[in-house]
């Protein structure tokens, strides 16, 4: 799952090495709101999930780990 998420992020921002442990992807403006929209769409199609609007919070997209945790919540 982590590899897939890193691949999604890398496709959007090839200039960024997402394998590094970033913890503030949104608050440091590495990802903007439109990036988040694209990530959600990719996660939903890749993992066959539907993410609630209530979970579309900056902190859920601030790191690869937080995105993994979000996806796990829906896969369970």
């Amino acid at each position: 799952m982590e590899d897939k998420i890193i691949s999604i992020l890398h496709d959007m921002h090839p200039e960024t090495d997402f394998s590094k442990s970033y913890t503030n992807l949104v608050s440091d403006a590495i990802l903007d709101s439109f990036d988040v929209v694209q990530i959600i769409s990719e996660l939903e199609s890749s993992f066959s999930i539907s993410i609630s609007a209530l979970d579309i919070l900056p902190e859920n997209f601030d790191s690869v780990e937080s995105i993994c945790n979000l996806v796990k919540k829906y896969i369970k």
């Binding site: 959007m12 709101s33 439109f34 769409s41």
Partner: protein
Amino acid sequence: MKSIISGVKISSICAVVPARVLKFEDELKEFPFPESSSRRLGKVMGFREHRIADPKTTLIDLAAYGINCLFKEGVIKKEDIDCLVFSSQVREHLVPGNSKVLHGFLNLSRNTHCIDLYENCTGFISGLYTACSIMRASNLNCVLLVVSNSGCCYANKKDRNTYPLAGDAAGIAVISRADEKETIDFAFFNDSDLRDNLITPAGGMRMPATEETAKMHIDDMGNYRSLNQLHMDGTGVFHYVMENVPFLIKEICELADVKKEDIKYHLTHQPNRFMLEKLADLINVPREIMFNNIVENFGNSSSSTIPVNIAYNLSDKLIDNSYKVCLSAFGAGMSVAGAIMNLGKMDYCKLIEHPCNGSNEY
């Protein structure tokens, strides 16, 4: 604020879009992002094509064309119009107001009262409330509500956050007397502490437009923008809508004593497809009854999106049938507005194209 107005209805709607179509695919190269990234975003947000009038076709031209259509089709007569309520965030001139300019273009009776509202995306519902209030408090029989926005030809073509969803359009609603049992239930909420979420910083009295404010700068994410242009905090707007529109709908349903499942259609303002899909899921209504196809076909024309939505998606159905509908809008302010009513058995409901040829004759 919540309010119930009885004995009034929308009897006709005409929506007007410019015939000039601009394609997202042709605009990709303007954005300071890889085309593949913009294309992917466009797919999620519903950026496909939008209608932007040429610089010579203004909001008054779009509105006048629609009203001339209503005259020509025999829906209303000039002498029947008691009052013109014009709601927009764009102005034909600084002075006089849009309603007076439109009154002049149409050569309306000097007995026709003219009112202007400066409104953003909630402008159709605010205008409807004003028009219905005037009807209710008077002996008038016909109030014309006009919403119209143009000027997207001047928008920043390098700003991927705002330009692909920009659109010009007008909407005209004829407000008439109805049976006293008919009510329109309204609710409005304002959260102006969040007004910086959606703001054009310069160009008004607080920060007059200057050479300095017109200078382009690159924002944190690489968009080109000046202080004279619209700034949108996409995350802030998204969260505002998701937190406040479900509450708004719950409040109006209670006011109208209507169950959510009794609403046949949710006719919302149209910011983008993604937001509307998430909103439909959040309030647990089928996506099919909350249309989300206006941005991809016409763009977001601020206060005009609701009449465009109604005319594009329901024009055929609303002549012979009547449905319980919930209108909702949200935007700059930040603010939300909603209305529940029976909509239908209308005299006229169509979306037409302004030919952008310098004429307002239908």
